[in-house]
């Protein structure tokens, strides 16, 4: 039959063309009458990054007449006002990410719900006095601590605003993908076929995988993922401070077991992100509330990990720097002390790192955690994802204005190159920092002590971070 002939010819084509093709079932031709609906873009995964992708494209002028679909396995999330208590899942949003959210009109909703800007970030070591402070000279906000639910609600509103272009499928999980041949033969569909759990089918010219670090899109596309499970879990909780304060500083202390961070939510509340061993994390989550609060305060205030040798060496280095560069050592502020933890707000989840070897293939692109997964110590996870959204949206917008086929590798590769160049160094640096700070061995402590102090003294390095 001609379909079989076409399939054979197709497989012969596969051999010389190399890495960007994948094996798998081909979509047979259907008559126009029975063909599943065809979308220009389907975003699989309606988390913060996937929803932002759909919202930004939906608001793009060159996508005015295009059809976009967003697939989300969970239910719709929208709040007119937030509950009194804070959610324990928060993100540190960079100014760049705020700009992206602003471009699709979502940032206004975030501001009207709730968020906490912070002006300063103090990072220090448990094993020495070394400290680094990040602060913008012009007293602008360095970043914002926002609950993930707030971001989701804001994006949902903005998706509603472009409902004529963006169709959101809630409670819809994709269970299968069928890939086309790159230069298709006559009898097979050139589009990606998507099958949903309820049996419905969609076709799309471009599939964007925003389905998290266990991305099914990535797995089905046979894209290799370099991954590593850290021997750590993160404990999150909502904390109440002993006394009300300006609370516009983000605190992070590197303990030998892992970094502990306090992110401001309001003048009286902060969010905890404590990365530590799996056993310690389980203990923290199950111990009584008073002991939990004591552990946190002790983690921030105690000096038991200091050794005289390191302290002296550190002090000497600091004096040396202040001779060369008088303003190069900053004033150490004291973190707030914690009085209470919100009941029911304690939770833990395992940590890992991951990086996809390819971000794109013919008619497929990965964004967010599907492409890269980092340790929370740098507070960058969702910002990397929003950066992916901004970059991919830029290239897709230009491609649409040029009348190009949206699934063409030509512009998808440009997105991949730009983002890999940016992400790989940050992911590697975060991973290296995690390993560097996981030890009490004197030489490494000294190295990072001096390194941190030197970095603190050098403006250009700090700015690039």
């Amino acid at each position: 039959s001609s379909a079989a002939m076409a399939a054979l010819r197709g497989r012969a084509l596969l051999a010389p063309l190399g890495a960007r093709l994948r094996a798998g079932p081909r979509a047979p031709l259907r008559s126009a009458a029975s063909a599943p609906p065809l979308y220009d873009v389907v975003v699989s995964g309606g988390g913060m990054v996937g929803s932002a992708m759909a919202a930004v494209l939906g608001h793009d002028i060159h996508f005015h007449d295009k059809k976009i679909a967003l697939l989300e396995a969970g239910p719709r999330k929208e709040y007119d006002h937030m509950p009194d208590s804070y959610s324990n899942r928060v993100s540190s949003i960079s100014p760049g990410s705020a700009t992206l959210l602003s471009s699709c009109g979502a940032w206004d909703h975030v501001c009207s719900l709730r968020l906490k800007p912070f002006r300063r970030m103090q990072v220090w070591d448990a094993c020495s006095e070394a400290m680094i402070v990040f602060e913008k000279d012009d007293l602008d906000d360095m970043g914002y601590i926002v609950e993930n639910d707030v971001i989701m609600s804001a994006l949902t509103k903005q998706l509603d605003a472009v409902a004529d272009r963006v169709e959101v499928f809630y409670r819809s999980k994709a269970v299968g993908y069928t890939w086309p041949l790159p230069s298709h033969s006559c009898d097979t569909s050139p589009w990606v076929q998507v099958e949903l759990a309820d049996g419905r089918r969609l076709q799309t010219k471009l599939l964007i995988g925003a389905d998290g670090h266990n991305s099914m899109v990535r797995k089905e596309a046979d894209i290799k993922n370099i991954e590593h499970q850290y021997d750590q879990s993160a404990v999150v909780a909502t904390l109440h401070l002993s006394e009300a304060t300006d609370n516009n500083v983000a605190w992070q202390r590197f303990l030998p077991t892992g970094p502990i961070a306090l992110l401001p939510l309001s003048d009286t509340a902060s969010s905890l992100v404590w990365s530590t061993s799996h056993e310690h994390a389980s203990e923290l989550v199950s111990m009584d509330e008073e002991s939990f609060v004591d552990s946190i305060n002790s983690a921030f205030w105690s000096n038991t990990n200091h050794s005289d040798f390191i302290d002296t060496a550190g002090a000497m280095f600091r004096s040396a720097i202040s001779l060369l560069k008088p303003s190069g050592t900053a004033v150490r502020q004291l973190p707030p002390s914690v009085a209470e933890v919100d009941p029911e707000s304690r939770a833990m989840f395992p940590l890992g790192m991951g990086h996809a070897t390819e971000y794109v293939q013919h008619r497929v692109a990965l964004i967010g955690d599907a492409a890269h997964r980092v340790h929370p110590l740098a507070g960058q996870g969702v910002n990397l994802g929003f950066g992916d959204v901004a970059c991919l949206a830029h290239h897709l917008s230009a491609a649409a204005f040029n009348g190009s086929d949206l699934g063409s590798l030509k512009h998808l590769l440009k997105f991949e190159t730009e983002r890999q160049r940016h992400n790989v160094s940050l992911i590697a640096a975060t991973d290296m920092l995690k390993r560097l700070y996981s030890t009490t061995l004197a030489p490494l402590v000294l190295l990072r002590t001096w390194g941190l102090q030197a970095t603190n003294a050098l403006p250009p390095v700090k700015v690039s971070i």
Binding site: L17, A32, L38, I61, H62, F63, H64, D65, K66, P182, S183, H184, C186, S189, P190, W191, A400, F401, N402, G403, S404, D405, S408, L409, K410
Partner: protein
């Protein structure tokens, strides 16, 4: 072979000079199924879209005052002469234009029809026809807003006939876009020797240097057939990056935008001092 047969049958019946060269048809027939492989024989034409589509789009946008969000070429009727597999017709269709693509090679039209059939929006906006330009003149007088003849004029048998036909099917003040190759020593070395024989950027035998068109010649023919040349710009292909860019010199590839004279200008095309009125009048009778 089938299309050659059709061509020879039609020949005795055509009353005008033909611009289609039968040798050229044969060449393109062999590669008809390769059009849509972005990394295959036609890779350079695919990447040429990156400069020729914005060129056409921006020129037309600057000439019109309507802008339809998301469909910048909405409402514009375009004729793509020598459309091949539809490489240029499709992006123009995606930008909102109604495109008619014609090509004398039947296999090309078949490939083009098949490729657009999977996209319902394109299937509606683009119509393909296996035909030469002369064959549609009678039924398409002053029908199109825009004619696009990209990488075509270096393959036609009679360039002046071709341009005259373009003028006939174009509305007054309509735009004609041409991209082609200059006839210079440089274009022989780079366009034929390097591109075809050495680097395989273009399938061997595609081009004949003798048929390359110098921009001065093209401009002369356009201006003497009722067109005003508005823009002429050189194009450069970088084989390492596989991408095209604009350049000052028209020594190799170049693009032209010309506008057909308006209805008023046409009938007064040869407004001259009274003494020579009578001679001019009889001379223009045949061309008006």
């Amino acid at each position: 072979q089938l299309s050659l047969f059709r061509f020879t049958v039609k020949r005795p019946f055509s009353t005008s000079h033909s611009s289609v060269d039968s040798k050229e048809i044969k060449k393109f027939q062999l590669l008809a199924h390769k059009w849509w492989d972005e990394e295959g024989e036609y890779a350079a034409l695919h990447s040429m879209n990156d400069i020729r589509v914005p060129f056409i789009r921006d020129t037309l946008l600057s000439m019109s005052s309507n802008y339809h969000l998301g469909n910048p070429l909405s409402g514009i009727k375009i004729l793509d002469v020598g459309c091949g597999g539809g490489l240029l017709s499709e992006p123009l269709g995606r930008l909102g234009a109604s495109v008619t693509g014609i090509d004398p090679v039947e296999d090309n039209i078949r490939t083009a029809d098949q490729h657009k059939s999977f996209d319902p929006v394109l299937a509606k906006r683009i119509q393909y026809k296996c035909s030469s330009l002369e064959e549609i003149v009678e039924e398409s007088m002053e029908t199109f807003d825009v004619i696009v003849a990209s990488e075509v004029v270096e393959h036609v048998a009679d360039l002046e006939t071709f341009i005259k036909c373009c003028s006939q099917v174009l509305k007054p003040e309509g735009s004609l876009f041409i991209t082609t190759i200059n006839k210079t020593q440089l274009s022989y070395v780079l366009g034929i020797v390097v591109a075809e024989k050495i680097m395989g950027i273009v399938p061997e035998g595609t081009h004949e240097w003798e048929k390359f068109v110098p921009p001065e010649e093209l401009e002369r023919l356009l201006e003497s057939n009722g067109f005003a040349v508005k823009t002429m710009s050189g194009m450069l292909y970088n084989p390492l990056s596989g991408s095209w860019s604009w350049m000052e010199s028209t020594g190799l590839n170049y693009a032209v935008h010309a506008v057909k004279a308006g209805a008023w200008a046409q009938s007064h095309a040869t407004d001259t001092p009274p003494e020579t009125d009578i001679q001019q009048h009889s001379a223009t009778a045949g061309t008006a």
